[in-house]
Symmetry: C4
Subunit: 292 residues, 4 copies
């Protein structure tokens, strides 16, 4: 990350910065692991607290544990802010917002009187679970996947537009053919059915009742079954390409600066300069011979 | 598109042609975006109008909005016809027919007295939604996908024929084994079940009741689960081929005969020979200079 | 096909052989198309006849049409046998058996008195539908697919054995955890559930009721969802390989007879002989020079 | 396997070792096949015994057969231990534990009085089925698959973490939106629903009831439908790489430096130089002969 240290930062502040924002010293690694464990545990408590049977019996304990985690995360955020030169930039970044979402809901329940209402508490409980997103910092590298995704993005958007068009046409068709009693009460409802069928989920809460409807459903299912080959094929191709480009060396040509040569290339494909600096160019050799 | 302008077309007519049928000037781009928004909004109105709760409350407004869009699309079609030399050819083309489908249903309800009937109105409502197909003009490029699809078409048709054959045999088997009470009332109904099972949709509206039927179902499901690898594999291979062939030139190096150079290569990566025969090697140039 | 003509076959017999068993003359092509249409139509009649509503109204007509097709196929089989030298070999081959299955059931109903029973008729009706397999002769080429399938067969069998092992262990687990009331009445029944879940079919006729059962189901579903990547990956790789081997030339080395060279190869990879017979070996050239 | 023979092992002991632990002599192969058949048959008996209808009628026979197999496997394990030098190491290995699991449950029922209880018997019955794992020794090679799996492991774990994060967020959302009456009684229950939907299983035991819930479900289903492309793409790429790397040697041509020869190549496909440095070029041989 590129958050800079306060300029006059000394001793403890610099050390805290290295521990919290980096991950290459033993202390920083220990901090990362402790943070991951704390997040997973606090999420587990939220999950268990939502189960009525547990919440009735252990609700009191869950309440204390939740407060312990909230205080912990609050202290952590305070330290983060303390050791940064421009904390507002951090607070506006993705991880800054996630940090705030991880602690604000619990504080709100305490501070805002109206927040004790049932609906409000339910929504705040959901918000707290978003602290799981902080783990993205630790798994969010995956450069190869992101590289392949970025390249196939255009094709996949194209695929999605086509899928939505097919869904809309089949939904409109079925809305005309099937009666509302079978569940096809509106076109949006038919679209829900069409997506359930085309993605091969198939809940079975809405199914065609007429023969014509069943015939159309068969076509839609076969379409959805085979069309999945398109994003899979595109993405496979891009992953293969990403792996293959590992074949390209990072070094630039000494002649023209071009830097995307296959590793096996011996001459620059742009200016013809000999690339392997450790050995001699056989052409040079020949010229030297012919000169002597 | 290749629709030609009326020959005596002057000033306004030429300008309209460029705005409507092309997309490389700011005006044309603005027109395209406005058209996309109008289509999406009018489709959204159709969707909402089909929901009874909304249609009862806002039906009157939807009616006016629908007429506004219909008038808009009618004017647009009139202008398209006005600035073309041979409008009938356009009207018979795919987008011409979609243009007509986008406006005719609403006019029909007004003009034809019998169209006020419930069934007729329902069908016309479906037809109006087909105006979404006009968006295909904007997403319908995807050359890479089409290229790969065209190449794997034969294999995919082969795959579909085999799937249908398997479906028919399993359907006939289950029709004999299972009783009509379980839903296997006829072979076509069993085929519906077989496709629901093989495509892994699995609504659950028809399920086997006997042990033998369940055993056969297991085989069918495993078959459907693994057979999806076939179109996916074929399509993946073709996408990879399409991407690769985009990158390598077909021409061989005049120096050493190596024939798998990337298109951007100017020097052979094996022997350093200048590849572009139509222009001169800059190195040669330098040598010539140093000699003179 | 490699069925030989009767030796003394003359005039009409030879001509019939070419029309029926080959497909490169206009007459033979017309015969093929007529046969495909007849098979599809007769199968359509079987399908419709199994629907009670149609069978009650048009049963009599279906009966006549079925007999017409049976006579047609019987005559065709008679002609096939007539123009072959060793008809018994044909009758024992795959297509010979399919030919017999296509006509025998209908004859049986007429000839065997006991065949009028309901169960027997139902089974015979199923058997008749197997005549669809005769179409395999027309779609059964797909050399690329078969090639790729043959190569990935070993890996796919491995995959299936692993899937069945996973299914068995999860089935046994769920049989212990869930009560018979939820549908897990026996291990085979649990296996049916495990396959329904793992292949992502998900009928919903048997679903876990306990929390532990649901947790195990989540693991099984995620496993089934991601494990499909294995056969798909293996098959994709093999199709790509099959396409790539198109890169190999068919011509044998004049030196050693080796016949699997990449098309771009200039020297035999086995004996080093110059492969391109139309041009001269540069090595030879050098030797000639050094000799002179 | 690397289990060593007892040092003083003679005659029969050595022979038993070769038959049981190896598989390259006719006797060892026969033993392997007999073992596979015995395992499959004993598993089949366990499956049938769990079906009430069969267990009631043939329970007594199943009991005897089960004891016969248990004695057989016990003798086999005794012989294995007898012919090994350090049997405890074997007993602690994976297959040793599986061997014990295959026989201990049946012995337990006889020896431990309390084991006659229903629950205990049910659990022991499950344990017995784990003897199917012994078959892994015979199918557990699949080096290509394991190689590809190992390489894509990191990417697939990344994929799983992302899936679980998406599942958790959608589960929390739906828990807030949908009422407990629809089945969304807790966040873990919502997670069960989210996994059922995202993996396209779609049992239909929990489905969204509100419009907003259905809209979110559509997004989740489309996500699950297309995200499967990620592990498939990664795995395909790795299988392709594994196959390819099996084919090309790493060594470069001493003549021209070309470094992508198939392993079977003996001459460089670019310059015709002899590649195998450890033996002599047969062409050289001929020349030498012709010179002398």
């Amino acid at each position: 990350m590129s958050f800079h240290l306060a300029p006059g930062a000394e001793g403890i502040r610099t050390r805290l910065f290295h521990i919290i924002f980096e991950s290459d010293t033993p202390g920083a690694k220990a901090f990362d692991i402790a943070l991951i464990i704390a997040i997973l545990m606090s999420v587990a408590v939220i999950l268990l607290d939502s189960v009525e049977a547990y919440s009735e019996r252990y609700g009191q304990y869950f309440f204390y544990v939740e407060w312990a985690f909230t205080l912990l995360f609050s202290v952590e955020l305070a330290v983060r802010i303390y050791c940064l030169e421009r904390p507002t930039i951090y607070l506006k970044s993705f991880y800054g917002i996630v940090d705030l979402i991880a602690i604000i809901p619990t504080w709100l329940v305490l501070l805002v009187p109206g927040a004790h209402g049932l609906v409000m508490v339910r929504i705040l409980r959901v918000l707290r679970i978003f602290r799981i997103l902080r783990l993205m910092e630790f798994i969010g590298e995956g450069r190869l996947l992101l590289d392949a995704l970025k390249r196939s993005l255009r094709q996949i958007l194209l695929f999605f537009s086509s899928v939505l068009m097919v869904v809309m046409l089949f939904a409109a068709l079925m809305y005309t053919i099937e009666s509302p009693e079978s569940g096809f009460t509106s076109i949006p409802m038919s679209m829900y059915w069409a997506i359930v069928s085309m993605t091969t989920v198939g809940y079975g809460d809405i199914v065609p009742a007429t023969s014509l409807g069943k015939a159309i459903t068969m076509v839609l299912m076969l379409l959805g079954y085979s069309i999945i080959a398109v994003p899979t094929g595109v993405f496979s191709a891009q992953v293969i390409r990403s792996i293959r480009e590992d074949r390209y060396s990072e070094e630039a040509c000494p002649g023209c600066g071009h830097d995307r040569h296959e590793k096996r290339a011996r001459y620059c494909l742009r200016c013809g300069t000999w690339l392997d600096e450790e050995s001699e160019d056989p052409r040079q050799h020949k010229k030297d011979k012919s000169q002597s």
